[in-house]
Structure formats: structure tokens, C-alpha cells
Amino acid sequence: MEHDSHHIIPFKTYLNILLGLLFLTVLTVLVAKPVSGFDAGVLNAFIAMLIASVKAGLVAAYFMHLKYDNKLHLALFLISIFFLVVLFAFSWFDIITRIQQLSTL
């Protein structure tokens, strides 16, 4: 019954991950329009979310041990995100195909 969940990740790896996360935090601030004026148009939100996802991936893979853990946990993590995407996609599909009746506000 030996899963890899008792795998000990070396201290140095943790430290590298932290440094990576801090670097990405600086990066996401630097490319943000309100901070630096850097403007990639419609891609702004996309870039911000991409960086956030890389950060979240690092936390999940190393700090939450998913990389070495029972793959069932990874599957659960991905399934919950998948169904979140389903909630978003169908609600979104309805709203963009609707005749928009924006509030008069």
C-alpha cells in the first residue's frame, strides 16, 4: 500500500518554489495596466489569469504535494475545476446569445 504520499520533498525545492511564486507575483504586478500602463488590450485579463494559474499550479503540485501524491487527488482537483468551467460555460453561453437588455443604469 505504499503510495508516494509520504514522499519527502527537499527543503531546497520548497525554497525554489517560493522564489518562483514571488517572482511571478512581481511579474503579474508589472504587466498590470493600472500599475505600469502596459496594455495588451483584450489579452490583459488573459495574461493575468495565465500567471495566476501557473502560480496556483506550482502551489498545488509542490506545496499540496499533488505531483507525488495519489493520482486520485489530482483527479478530484481537476474534476472540481472542470465542473466549475461547466457552470461558467453554460451560464456564459446563455448570456452572450441572449438579446441583451442592459439595465438603464
Binding site: L72, F83, L87, F90, F93, D94, I95, S103, L105
Partner: protein, 529 residues
């Protein structure tokens, strides 16, 4: 093992006193706590149903005014959905039998199991608080913007449902972990009884869908207290988004209600036809299939509520797909009965009742999924009849069958077979007399949820109300049959039905840790020769 088991101690007399029940971590005792709770709630919700039908006996006000009618309807819906049908099979029968079916000593987290029962009780108590503030009149769906504006105790019902959501989540979480980690040696996934497959699929829904209800209800509370404006069109919000969020939970919730019932029926049919179930894997995977598909169909509740046509067509199409795994199950059950050595005991009668009624419910479901027909049927009594055929004709039939089937195991006593059959006849006939006319009423255009109707609908409504009273009598007799069996019934043997799943290999009632020795499983669950 300690000596106590040798003296014939079982889970019922293992510890004594009310306090030992209220602080128990034993899944069987928690199952019994749920049984009592659900039966009490069912009596309350059923009383509201009787009041509603009595009010609708003839046109015009009979026994209540419009406001009282709206309240009765809301409480009937909220109680039956959140406090009876959702916890009904998983938390009561599932709690008792899932670990036994797996050959485990308990669920994975006994403490959390007890907490989940308290969540249900606390949630129900919070719901009751609403009565101090003039109750609630939104229906169990809490549609915005009305639920934001209405000036009464709706917030308490919403908050109560939020707390009860935790009960559902924790039960589901427990079942998934138990199924993965606590199976007895040799109990592979394909050696598990189909009831476990059904409960597992249900648990996945409970864990993945209920949190969205949680956030939706929290947002609604914020809406009512702070006017956050997310669902309020007057503040730039979108009330249809509320319906998306609500039905993202509440459509899977419909399967939280029906999947465990299908699991019970699988057990009943194979046990009483004394035959290996036909298409084990097909039934098992169709449970999972129904669970997955149920997440993609919620928009069929919203065909007339301002959802875009494109989204409506998409949802309509996907909804039809639900018919596939459902039909697979039904055909397999019928095939199991074919050439079986059938014993027409009351559990099987209820299972057959399930097959008959659920099929009608399912087929009318396909009619409602058709977007063009739905425009006509939407919010009419056709819909009311449809979902009662599924919820009552499906789930309640299975609960009744399950109670009779497992009563000898749970309490070590037999019930009175004659009177049990009487309850089946009354409930089955009463049910059809109540709800079949409602299909016709709906097709004629009688809208649901109103406390009054046109005189043209009166004769069919009278028939429907007579049917409701018959069901009422049936359930009262059933209550007596069950209570008398528990306290005065004949002693039951360990396996009165000759069934093959693991729970029948241990004593009736089972000992504290279910099995004196951890069972070792060598084959499938239904090894009738």
C-alpha cells in the same frame, strides 16, 4: 474482540439511554436517527400536502386564504426536498447499509457523520424560525427578484437550507471516502452491490453540486440584507443568473433524490427474483453516467425564464440524453425479473410500483425536455404531475420498499406482510388517482402554484384530492406497520429473504462493529445460482 458480542449484544443494546444515541458515532445508530428525523419531517411535509389538496378540492377559498396557501406550498416543497427526499435514502438507508455492504466497521469519519445529522437538525430548526416572521412564500426555489423583495421570514428558510447543505455534503464526502478506503479484503469495485454504486454516484453529486447552492443561498442572503445587486435587475444584476446557479445544484439534486432509489430497487429486484442481476456493469456505469450528465442539463428548468433560445436548444438536446442511462437501468431490471423465481413480498411490490411510476415520470420528462412542448406545459400541473411521479412514485416507493426489506436486519423483527401489502395498494392506487388527473389538468392549461382555479378544472381536482387522502391513509397505516414491527414484531432470522449481500451474513440486528470478523469477499454481490 471483547466478550460483549458473545452475550448477544447488538448495536441497539450496546449502550443505553437517550444520551448514548445523541452522541453516538455508530453509523447504524446515526442511520436510525436519520430514519426518525426523516419520518417526522415527512409527516409535517405530508400534512402540508393534505392541506394543499384539501384547499384545491373545489374552486375558491375552502380552508385557507391565498397567503396561507403560498406558505403551505413553500413549506411542503422545502421540507420534502431538503429534509425528506435528499437525506431520505442516502443518509438513512445508506448510512446504515453502505459500510455493511462493503464489509467495513463504520464509515470513514464517524464524527463527521454525526455532525452531518446535527447540521440537518440545526438547519431545520433555523427554517422553523421563519414562522415567527410570517413564514415564507417564495416556493422552495427562492426565485429572484421576488425572493429579494418579499417581506417575511424567507431569509431564515434560505439560511436553514444553507446549513442543511452541509449535512448533505458531509454525508457524501463520508460515503466517497468509505467506498474508496474501507472495502473489505476482496471487495473490488465490481464486487460492490449496486446500491453502493448508486450511493457513490449520489455522493459525487452531493460533493460537487451542493457548494454552488451554498454560495447561491449566501448571495441571496446578502441580497436580502445588503442589496448587493448581483441578482437584482433594478441594481444592474441578472435574475436569470440566479436560476443558473440555483439549478446547477438543484438539477443534480433531482438525481441525488432518484439515484439512491434506483440503487434500492436494484437490490430489491435481484433479491426477490432470486436471480443474478442482469447487466451488472451496465447498471453500475449508468448510475455514474446519470450523475455526470445531470450537470449539463439544468437549463431545461429555464426554457421560459428569459434564457436565450440557443442555450435552450442546447439544454433540450442534452436533457434527452438522460433518457439513455435511465432506460438502460429499467430494461435491465425487467430483464432480471424475466424467468426469475419471483416472491411477491411487499418490498418487491414497491419496487414494481417504482418501475411502473418512474417510467411514466421518465417519459413525461422527455416530453417536457422537448423545448416546443415545454412552452405549453411550463409551470402547469403537467410539471407537478411529472416530478411527483419521479419523486414520490420513484423515491418514496423505493424508500418504502427499502424500509420493509431491511427492517428485519435493522431491528431483528418482521413486519406484518398482510398490512404492508395493504399500504402498497393504498399508496399505489392513491398516488395514481392523485397525480394522473394532474397531467390532464396541466395539458388543459391549469397553472401550478395558484390557490384557486377556473371552475372548468373542478371535477379533476376533486378526483386528485380524493387520491391524496388515500395516500395519506396509506402512509398512516404504513407508520403503524413499521412502529408495531419494531416493538412487537416476530423475531426475524439473520437472512429472512435469502439475499446474498454482505449485511445478511451477520446477525439481526447487527453487532456494534457489524461483523464479528472482517469478511473476506470472493465473488460478486448477487451469487444466486
Amino acid at each position: 474482540m471483547s466478550a460483549s458480542h458473545a452475550e448477544g449484544k447488538n448495536y441497539l443494546n450496546w449502550e443505553k439511554g437517550l444520551w448514548s444515541w445523541l452522541t453516538t458515532f455508530d453509523h447504524k445508530r446515526i442511520g436510525i436517527l436519520y430514519m426518525i428525523t426523516v419520518m417526522v419531517f415527512f409527516a409535517v411535509g405530508g400534512t402540508f400536502a393534505m392541506l394543499i389538496r384539501t384547499e384545491l378540492f373545489s374552486a375558491g377559498p375552502n380552508i385557507m386564504d391565498a397567503n396561507q396557501y403560498n406558505q403551505s406550498m413553500t413549506f411542503h416543497g422545502a421540507i420534502m426536498v431538503f429534509m425528506v427526499i435528499i437525506p431520505g435514502i442516502p443518509a438513512f438507508l445508506g448510512n446504515f447499509f453502505l459500510p455493511m455492504h462493503l464489509g467495513a466497521k463504520d464509515v470513514a469519519f464517524p464524527r463527521i457523520n454525526l455532525i452531518s445529522w446535527y447540521c440537518l437538525i440545526v438547519g431545520a430548526a433555523i427554517t422553523l424560525v421563519s414562522l415567527i416572521y410570517n413564514g415564507a412564500d417564495t416556493g422552495w426555489t427562492f426565485y429572484t427578484p421576488y425572493s429579494i423583495e418579499t417581506d417575511n421570514g424567507t431569509s431564515w428558510v434560505v439560511f436553514g437550507a444553507f446549513v442543511m447543505g452541509f449535512s448533505s455534503i458531509l454525508t457524501g464526502l463520508n460515503f466517497i471516502v468509505t467506498t474508496h478506503k474501507l472495502r473489505a479484503p476482496g471487495m473490488t469495485f465490481f464486487n460492490m452491490p449496486l446500491f453502493v454504486w448508486a450511493l457513490y454516484s449520489t455522493a459525487v453529486l452531493q460533493v460537487l453540486a451542493t457548494p454552488v447552492l451554498g454560495i447561491t443561498l449566501l448571495l441571496l442572503l446578502a441580497e436580502r440584507t445588503m442589496g448587493v445587486g448581483i441578482f437584482d435587475p433594478a441594481l444592474g444584476g441578472d435574475p436569470v443568473l440566479f436560476q443558473h446557479f440555483f439549478w446547477f445544484y438543484s438539477h443534480p439534486a433531482v438525481y441525488i433524490m432518484i439515484l439512491p432509489a434506483m440503487g434500492v430497487v436494484s437490490e430489491l429486484i435481484t433479491a426477490f427474483s432470486r436471480k443474478v442481476i442482469f447487466g451488472y456493469k451496465a447498471i453500475a456505469f449508468s448510475s455514474v453516467g446519470i450523475a455526470v450528465v445531470s450537470f449539463f442539463v439544468w437549463g431545461h428548468h429555464m426554457f421560459t425564464s428569459g434564457q436565450s433560445e440557443a442555450a435552450g436548444i442546447l439544454f433540450s438536446f442534452i436533457t434527452m440524453l438522460v433518457g439513455v442511462p435511465t432506460a438502460i437501468k429499467t430494461f435491465n431490471w425487467v430483464a432480471t425479473l424475466y424467468k426469475g423465481s419471483i416472491r411477491f413480498d411487499s418490498p418487491l411490490l414497491f419496487a414494481l410500483g417504482f418501475l411502473f411510476l418512474f417510467t411514466i415520470g421518465g417519459v413525461t420528462g422527455i416530453m417536457l425536455a422537448t423545448i416546443g412542448l415545454n412552452i405549453h406545459f411550463h409551470d402547469t400541473y403537467f410539471v407537478v404531475a411529472h416530478f411527483h411521479y419521479v419523486m414520490v412514485g420513484g423515491t418514496l416507493m423505493a424508500i418504502m420498499g427499502g424500509i420493509y426489506y431491511w427492517l428485519p436486519k435493522m431491528f431483528g423483527r418482521m413486519y406484518n406482510e398482510f398490512w404492508a401489502r395493504i399500504t402498497f395498494v393504498l399508496i399505489f392506487i392513491g398516488f395514481n388517482v392523485t397525480f394522473f388527473p394532474q397531467f390532464i389538468l396541466g395539458a388543459m392549461g391549469m397553472p401550478r402554484r395558484y390557490f384557486d382555479y377556473l371552475p372548468a378544472f373542478e371535477s379533476l381536482n376533486k378526483i386528485s384530492t380524493f387520491g391524496a387522502w388515500t395516500i395519506g391513509v396509506g402512509f398512516v397505516i404504513a407508520l403503524f406497520v413499521i412502529v408495531i414491527a419494531i416493538f412487537k414484531g416476530e423475531k426475524a432470522s439473520d437472512n429472512p429473504w435469502g439475499a446474498k449481500t454482505l449485511e445478511w451474513t451477520t446477525a439481526s440486528p447487527p453487532p456494534h462493529e457489524n461483523f464479528l470478523e472482517t469478511p473476506v469477499v470472493t465473488g460478486g454481490p448477487y451469487e444466486f445460482r
